[in-house]
Homo-oligomer: 332 residues x 2
DNA sequence: ATGAAAGCGCTAACAT
DNA sequence: ATGTTAGCGCTTTCAT
């Protein structure tokens, strides 16, 4: 492989000068600079990352902490994040974690074995040791799609978004509304809070019997959750699912039970994943700006790493209610 | 950061001995080995990847060449591949490419700037320069989900699988069957070949008017393709979509046009992505064993890299016809 | 069986 | 403005 020395030799200069040119440092004679640039161009030389990595004490690698289930929403988000990360020259390495202590411990152990430049969290870690470690090591952290105290967090206003979704349902005349969500994470709880708030704001009692919790945000658990629901409670005309995947699983069950959406039951989701606009019926939902979420996540982590920004306060991205076919006015 | 020297000093031995222990080399006294291992355990020391990378001339990084559209099927597959890659200690770096020459050139340029240990192709490159380069540099290559001459390819028997799918349709009494696919890649053409073969085997004429080609395998192009289809041809009772995403887009259009699936038109897909089993109606399709595909892709690339295997002949994984709700007997 | 020493490719401090 | 040099953390001859 061609190295900086080869370029230096060909140019009749020292490696240091070539290095200066590559890294855009000043104090290089413009003429020599051009000459070096020309040789680099001709030879197709590119600096060795491992060598730079070693001397700069940077790995050009960012860790992605994500739930083992890695759902459709997260895969879509990752796809956006990755494009930007790639643009900034980072490699990625995944840390799949389950929602239990052992798994988080394993994750932390692996984390320590990698000299990460930064970490993107698509999943909320409970273990305080995790934050202690990253803080201690000075590893920049970005939380994407939820908020963590002391960590640069990028997300929509979950509570307000859920409030908007449920208000839409109430506005359609629904009075008994079910909710499907997971209480295991902050954004789930915030969406639930929005659900209750909408009820209060509109003067409705918050009937807690109409709530089913599931462990993960997958279609499968949407199915499971909806089954539970039907077992417990038949007297409702609308459902607020905390994610689109939950909504899709729920609609599947409703269909199997001979219940029509939206004629018999209105369903609203959250996220606006790709399939939402094609499902039958098309899913009414709250859009999270996935592209911007991905863009901002990568960009801000990069800023944190390069030192051009400090954590500061959360970045709140705008959400948007997308009304499609799965919700309709309640038939009295 | 704690280094090999620190361990050596604590153990009262030389870095060379510690290195031997870490890498499981022989010629180390068992007692000393245990002692070193103990210290490593206690201190939580892990070798610096960049340093190893430099001396070993390996990057521990694999490139993933994938289409810019990075569809649901690919995202799901990547998720499986990544888990294994992670297990083997590789980082990943994406190379998004479009289906045009310029994009492939750019990709090649970026490829050259990364010292990759290996490359996984989820997308077929046309540019012969690409293969010339990788061959020349001795970079191991694995093609996943399609076959390339001279490259270790892992995939199902596309033609047979498509044959099975179309035979299912014909067996249901359908005689005028449409096909939606992309001719821009080998597996698309093979699936098309299976489509024709099934017609021939069953003594049906291959009415080429019943075929629509699209540029990409996305839901969006399923919609687009189906619209085209309806414009050109109304006289058919079943559709073979070359991927599930195409099928979903097609079903969406059919629904919008007031055509029922499967009562009016049967639809069969290909891949068996996650949503297939939840869509309304549940999609009949041909399953590709995504988990094993991911597993084998990562494993075989690793073997190629570590020199414990040579390209050899293609790895053919079993497919399976999954009959669900979107296909039904033709009503005369 | 073990250690000393060289060197992987690069950057930065220091010298000129 | 440019060159010299040391050193990042590791592995691997080559001695012993």
């Amino acid at each position: 492989m061609i190295s900086i020395k080869d370029i230096a030799r060909q140019a009749g200069m020292s490696p240091a000068t070539v290095s200066r040119v590559i890294n855009g440092k000043s104090h290089v004679h413009p003429e020599k600079r051009d000459q070096i640039l020309k040789i680099i161009e001709e030879t197709g030389y590119v600096p060795n990352k491992a060598a730079r990595s070693m001397v700069l004490q940077r790995s050009f690698t960012v860790g992605i902490v994500v739930n083992e289930t890695f759902n459709m929403f997260q895969r879509q988000l990752f796809s956006f994040i990755e494009r930007r990360l790639e643009f900034f020259g980072y490699h990625t390495i995944f840390f799949f974690v389950q929602c239990d202590g052992v798994s988080e411990e394993d994750c932390l152990a692996r984390l320590k074995s990698e000299a990460l430049d930064g970490i993107i969290m698509l999943h909320e870690m409970k273990d305080p040791q995790f934050y202690a470690y990253t803080m201690n090591m000075g590893i920049p952290l970005v939380a994407s799609t939820f908020s963590i105290q002391g960590v640069l967090s990028i997300h929509v206003n979950e509570e307000q978004a859920a409030f908007d979704a449920v208000s839409h349902l109430i506005g359609l005349g629904h009075r008994k509304i079910g909710m499907l969500y997971s209480g295991g994470d902050s954004f789930g709880r915030q969406r639930a809070a929005g659900f209750y708030l909408a009820h209060e704001a509109l003067g409705l009692s918050r009937n807690t019997h109409l709530v089913v919790q599931v462990p993960y945000y997958s279609i499968e658990f949407g199915v499971y959750g909806m089954r539970e629901f039907l077992l417990q409670e038949q007297d409702f005309s609308a459902l607020f699912a905390a994610t689109d995947e939950l909504a899709i699983g729920a609609m599947r069950v409703l269909r199997d039970e001979g219940l029509r959406v939206p004629e018999d039951i209105s369903v609203i989701g959250f996220d606006d994943i790709e399939i939402a606009d094609y499902f039958i019926p098309r899913l009414t939902t709250v859009r999270q700006p996935l592209d911007e979420l991905g863009e901002q996540t990568a960009l801000n982590l990069h800023k944190l790493i390069s030192g051009s920004r400090r954590p500061g306060r959360d970045l709140i991205l705008p959400h948007k209610l997308i009304i499609r076919e799965s919700t309709a006015r309640k038939i009295p």
